[in-house]
């Protein structure tokens, strides 16, 4: 590890307890000047709590914090800011209808002699900061007009205006495109050169390997390991995070290709899709990739009957599917796990059992009356097999973690005896341990003979689960690859519409 006099933040034996739960148990963390230090761990591991303590939102129960070698007391957010610690949260804290400049200097307007705001100085300084991080926009632009990536940059600019010494980034790339991520990394490198220490909280291990210098792993409130990135590997990190060795994030037991189950021909919708055609076989996993706005979710919705279709047709096992009717789609054996699991997938106020059985009520009822015993038995099977962490079947799903909620949704479709299942971003926002489990389930689905379509924007997942990859751009299919012929660069080229890679045989 780097020598001590370069250490800007030294967290020693910090503990924090909440009623019934020890969130942090004597953890240590050292952050050096100009170092990008990753903080990883499953949901609930303690990362959030530590960050909130450093930000002054919570107060430590025990331990010491040294800043630039001196012990400090961070009792309020103001204390934290004064020290030079700035947190860029996932939910950005900008004021949408104010300008970039106003937001950047929100807590520290430059004043003229007569105590009125010196607007010229404000905008000039803002422009300087924006230039320094390569953000080429006018400082008078209103926030709501900017993209998420640009807003993130403004948050960073705000940190710089306070002459931050430590910047903490919480899941910074969750809403960014690959290009924007690259840009962010460039800015981070610049910040490093200025000697700013960066704490980088993320789920994406590939980013850790790409941009970070050191990585610390938390699990269950305890420090598990702290290493240089150069001296470790993804597998080792995953093992530390989860506490057991995961052979691989992408298990494959399914063998692959049966008959063609799903046949989509020249599907077009009014707004987005243009003559989309593809096939999925029984036991096959087709991964669909595309940037934001490529039309993946539109495709899923059109397939499922949630959106109107202008032209084209869909057939399942050779039988034509009536378009635009969700109940028809369900009857023909189509299942759809939505991207927005809370908004469109789960009925949050209903229990685990009730959510699992929702599409299958006729199977567990007689004469219109639900057979409760059978409902319990069937759902308990899934809870056991999928290892869904819930205190009881009657627990409302809103209390489950994201990963377990996703498992509930998958259980729902498995109960239904489907022929085709569409999974839209199945592991978004889910920590590594749960991700692996879901990939295992996807594999399981394929083994059972389903035609599986997985839509994802995470490259490692795409490459890891798919037998066959389809790339979409602006509502059209621009690339098709087999597992063997797939390569990240080619996929990205197709995704931005630069090149088209059509399969010879189809």
């Amino acid at each position: 590890m780097a020598p001590d006099h370069d250490t800007v933040l030294d967290v020693q034996r910090i503990s924090k307890e909440f009623p019934g739960v020890k969130a942090l148990d004597a953890v240590d963390l050292k952050l050096n000047k100009g170092e990008v230090h990753a903080l990883i761990g499953e949901n609930g591991a303690g990362k959030s709590t530590l960050i909130k303590i450093l930000a002054g939102v919570y107060y430590k129960d025990d331990g010491e914090i040294l800043f630039d070698g001196d012990p400090v007391d961070i009792a309020t957010p103001a204390d934290s800011l004064k020290l030079g610690i700035k947190v860029v949260f996932q939910e950005l804290s900008l004021i949408p209808h104010m300008t970039v400049g106003e937001n950047v200097f929100l807590e520290s307007f430059p004043l003229k002699k007569n105590k009125s705001i010196d607007w010229d100085a404000l905008y000039a300084e803002t422009k300087d900061i924006l230039d320094s991080i390569g953000l080429d926009i006018s400082p008078k632009t209103k926030i709501y007009k900017l993209t998420v990536s640009q807003q993130q940059m403004v948050e960073i600019a705000r940190a710089l205006s306070h002459e931050a010494k430590v910047i903490i980034m919480d899941e910074p790339t969750s809403a960014l495109t690959p290009n924007e991520v690259e840009h962010l990394f460039k800015v981070i490198r610049q910040l490093k050169e200025r000697g700013i220490g960066i704490l980088y909280v993320t789920h994406k291990l590939e980013e850790v390997m790409a941009i970070c210098d050191a990585v610390t792993v938390f699990r269950d409130g305890k420090l598990i390991s702290s290493r240089n990135v150069s001296e470790t590997s993804t597998d080792e990190l995953v093992t530390d995070m989860v506490g057991r060795s995961i052979k691989t994030l992408f298990p494959r037991t399914h063998t692959g290709r049966g008959d063609v189950i799903l046949n989509v021909r020249s599907l077009s919708t009014e707004k987005k899709l243009k003559e989309v055609s593809f096939q999925v076989r029984s036991g096959e996993v087709v991964g669909i990739f595309g940037l934001m706005g490529a039309g993946r979710t539109e495709l899923a919705k059109a397939l499922f009957g949630l959106d109107a279709v202008q032209a084209g047709n869909i057939s399942i096992e050779g039988r034509e599917l009536k378009l635009g009717s969700t109940s028809q789609s369900t009857k023909m054996g189509l299942g759809y796990l939505t991207e927005d699991r809370k908004g469109e997938g789960l009925v949050l106020q209903m229990s685990v059992a009730q959510n699992i059985t929702l599409p299958s009520l006729e199977d567990i009822s007689s004469a219109g009356f639900i057979k409760r015993k059978e409902e319990s038995i069937r759902s308990q099977e899934f809870v056991d097999v999928f290892r869904i962490k819930t205190p009881s079947l009657r627990q409302k799903v809103m209390y489950l973690s994201g990963g377990n909620q996703q498992k509930v949704l998958i259980a729902r479709w498995l109960m239904k005896k489907l022929k085709v299942i569409i999974l839209d971003e199945p592991t978004r926002g889910i920590d590594v341990g749960a991700k692996a489990e879901i990939h295992r389930l996807i594999d399981e689905l394929a083994s059972q003979g389903l035609a599986v379509v997985v839509m994802t924007s995470e490259m490692p997942e795409l490459l890891g689960v798919s037998d066959h990859i389809i790339v979409m751009c602006e509502g059209r299919i621009t690339g098709e690859f087999d597992r063997e012929s797939a390569a990240m660069e080619k996929i990205l080229e197709a995704a931005i519409g630069q090149k088209e890679y059509r399969h010879a045989e189809q």
Partner: protein, 348 residues
Amino acid sequence: MHSASSIPEEAECIKWSLAVPSTDSISKGSFLTKLVLFNEIILVAVLVVISAAISIGTSQFYSTTNILNILRDSSMAIIAGIGMTMLLITGEVDLSIGSLVAFVGVVTMDIINKTNSVFLGVLAGLSLGALTGLINGLVRTKLKVNSLIGTIAMMMILRGSVYLYKLEAAQNYHQLSSFYSIGNGYLGFMPIPVIIMVILYVVFLIILYRTVLGRRLYATGGNEIAAKISGIKVDNLKILTFVANSVFAAISGIILVSRMNSGQPNAGVGFELMVISGVILGGTSLGGGEGTLVGTLVGLLILRVINNGIIILRWNQDLQIVISGLIIILAVFIDNKRKVARSKIITK
């Protein structure tokens, strides 16, 4: 600011993985937490306390006559409340039931007068209800008009139309005894409206909690898209619920016209607000997906008991609205606290 009582998300996540008992059984939370999580028990307690307090004030509260009066009078609102609860569970609302009660009353009385048949009159009233519900349902599902606005429009249309149908009140010409007994009669010692209410209540209690149909109502209100994706025919279900709701309101209207002995075009004013207040007081959410018939029963009884108590205690009648309003605010306040307590322990 660093309060220990605000539980962070991740801490709860760890807690659940240690298999803490669910919210269905007595949890390890503080007493206040438990109280807050069992909404219906609080309501029953409120009803008991208010009744006890009134009884202390006057011996006439707890007499057979009074209790039966309260039940008979509440039966109209409770019957309408059954329908309204189910409608709210699906995420919709109907503000036209007050006007419908008036219109059904006038039509029923008028048809009985013209045909000398109670059966035909009742049939006409129920049909009017069903038709109104059908229109409400179609306006919501086919025209995609928000049900609040759509049913307010229907309320105005009905209120105006009843005067087009008949300008004065419809008097009772034939004085048929079967008509009189609908609202005023007894079966044994039980008033007939109460019997009707109990039968409907029990039947729909079973339907809501034990059948596929009931489960689908909750799903439709809880998350309409999830329900659609699960193959539920959401539009048909909503139309059905609108029709049921209006038919229930029509039944109330028929009981009322029998009790009033004339069809009054100006009846039912404020009825919809009273029913909805009682239903929400009972714990059904305006947002859909949550609702309890038990809560509706207790909520409406509480409102009725307050009104009754104020009169027999000879207090100023203006207090009726004031106290009802305070109880409603209190109930919504507790409900909000309950929701916040719940959301504080939602994990990501």
